[in-house]
Amino acid sequence: MSAQAEEYVTEDGRKIGGVMMEMKNITLRFGGVVAIKDISFDIREGEIRAIIGPNGAGKSSMLNVISGFYNPQEGDVIFRGKKRPQMRPYKVAQQGIARTFQNIALFEGMSVLDNVMTGRLTHMKTGMFGQAMWWGKAQDEEVYNREKVEEIIDFLEIQAIRKTPVGRLPYGLKKRVELARALAAEPKLLLLDEPMAGMNVEEKEDMSRFILDVNDEFGTTIALIEHDMGVVMDLSDRVVVMDYGKKIGDGTPDEVRSNQEVIDAYLGVAHD
């Protein structure tokens, strides 16, 4: 199985490296509810990794564990070969992990530009006194980061709305702005929780294209949750399948598609 090789090149010529993030025997409970049961999987450098499963399977919980928002009761998160201690989410962000949310979590009172600029916080170094004076270094930093943000804005084709308050945008654009904010951090690992939920076909196509471009142009490793099977099969290099908090499948889209347990639990129920 090609996916097990140390490093390989995909059919479309993208390089997939060694393991970047390893989830080891993760168990997460909320009181009596076991959201994740002893799950292990890994994410490799440069790949697009999908997490799928029916509603309530524990997919979002898994992303929340990766981004440090939940602390699992059992198991280890191993990032770049090192076991990650319990860590506040902002520290995780500083390690180069960015994400979007299933229910859009933008800063509604701020403009698109300011929202995306907040994405660059982990790159901001000048102190508050410099900023208060707005001199030399603080201003240079602002301009430099603005340039970076404008690149992202161009990339995602949201130039026309950059000064618009986010609260006024339609749903599809909000999703795109949220992606822009995550990308602005120049993350090593990008977590996307249902980036295409609630979108029409055209918007989904746009979003798929952006995800592929991000992976291709910036070499960003991506883990995404998605319900649309067509999208998942098209985009992802490998897929983890969850059901009731357990992992029931893991492999290339083709392998997963032909896995009987997955078909029973998920694909069969959905359609086909």
Binding site: S67, G68, F69, R88, P89, Y90, V92, A93, Q94, A98, R99, F101, A105, L106, F107, E108, G109, M110, D114, M117, T118, G119, L121, T122, M124, T126, M128, Q131, A132, M133, W134, A138, Q139, E141, E142, V143, R146, E147, E150, R181, A182, A185
Partner: protein, 358 residues
């Protein structure tokens, strides 16, 4: 000259990020500054200074401070009066302990001390939000007033329990004490307002401001994109209290000259400044000025019209004022939560497109 954006292209991000992106606004702003510094001091009299301009300027500083905390960082505070008292008493202790040091430095130091106290009382904000935080700051308000009443060291064991500002000069000109000229009071306050507004504007348009607003709009998402909530909230309390402390110091030393803490810095003061930013506009420096101007001018106007013009008794006019303020708060909270600043913005947007609205 037409009020236009067209033809005024921004070619750098520095230009795009400036405070007044429209040339007309910029010019208007410079003219305003020039008049405020170059003309007003020569024509000001005691009535205008004491009834309107000096309180307006000082309240503007306090409102900027509170707006940073409430409007930008989304942390409710009802402790403004108490923090102004900290600034006032810090300034008093500094003035009397180090008479040789400039009063200007004392005022700034009073701000720094208030910032430290603000951080201390801001600590609960790490655990509690909204209503509960408001109650916690309310407790701070009452505690601080009680403290300054109770501990004689703060008022240098004076018999009256009040604090009185000794006479101090800047470049040989008296700025505190009974014999201060109106223009000197005005100018000192104007300098502080200008500096505070400039600092606040710089902080709010940059990284720090975005961090605060991120915490305000959605604290969970803010933390996940890398905002340290502890740092964001405590810096908001610190910067806010710094400005409020400066306002308190000026209110005591320059404006009133002597202060009885419960009377001047009581809970009413907290509400007054809160009303200023609600009416003026939450999350707007301009709104802080607009709200301060409104709340200072309205009683003066009403008094002139109702008492002076229509011959109403003073107490009825005063009650009428409360009714108007109350009504306006409700109106603004419901119809225009962004206050006068937003009305102004909308008016300007209309003007920019005039006469072709599409």
């Amino acid at each position: 000259m037409l009020y236009r954006e067209a033809g005024d292209f921004k070619t750098t991000y520095v230009e795009d990020g400036q405070t007044f992106p429209i040339k007309f606004d910029r010019i208007a702003y410079y003219i305003l500054l020039a008049v405020a510094f170059g003309v007003v001091p020569f024509i000001i009299n005691d009535y205008w200074a004491n009834a309107v301009l000096v309180p307006f300027l000082i309240y503007a500083v306090a409102a900027i401070g509170l707006n940073i905390l409430v409007g930008y960082a989304g942390q409710v505070s009802l402790g403004t009066g108490g923090f102004m008292a900290v600034g006032a008493y810090a300034c008093y202790k500094l003035m009397t302990s180090f008479p040789e040091v400039s009063i200007l430095i004392h005022v700034v130091l009073a701000g720094v001390i208030t910032a430290a106290v603000g951080v201390l009382f801001g600590l609960p904000s790490l655990r509690i939000k909204g209503f509960y935080l408001a109650v916690a700051t309310l407790a701070a308000q009452f505690f601080l007033v009680w403290l300054f009443n109770k501990v004689p060291w703060f008022y240098n064991y004076s018999a009256s329990g009040q604090i009185s500002a000794p006479e101090r000069t800047v470049f040989g000109i008296e700025v505190t004490g009974a014999n201060t000229d109106a223009w000197a009071k005005y100018l000192v306050c104007l300098i502080f307002v200008t500096a505070c507004a400039w600092l606040a504007r710089n902080l709010t348009r940059g990284t720090t401001g975005r961090t605060w607003m991120a915490i305000r709009d959605m604290d969970i998402a803010a933390e996940i994109i890398g905002v340290n909530p502890l740092k964001a909230k405590l810096t908001a309390f610190a910067v806010s209290s710094f400005f409020v402390g400066i306002a308190g110091a000026l209110f005591f030393a320059v404006y009133l000259g002597s202060v009885e803490v419960g009377e001047v810095f009581g809970i009413n003061k907290s509400f007054l400044v809160l009303f200023m930013i609600i009416i003026g506009g939450l999350g707007s420096i301009f709104g802080s000025f607009a709200g301060a101007a409104f709340m200072v001018l309205m009683p003066v106007l009403l008094k002139n019209i109702l008492v002076g013009g229509l011959g109403w008794p003073t107490d009825i006019a005063a009650h009428f004022e409360l009714v108007i303020v109350g009504g306006l708060i409700v109106v603004f909270l419901i119809l225009e939560p962004h206050g006068l600043a937003q009305l102004w913005r909308v008016a300007k947007e209309k003007l920019r497109l005039w006469p072709f609205p599409h």
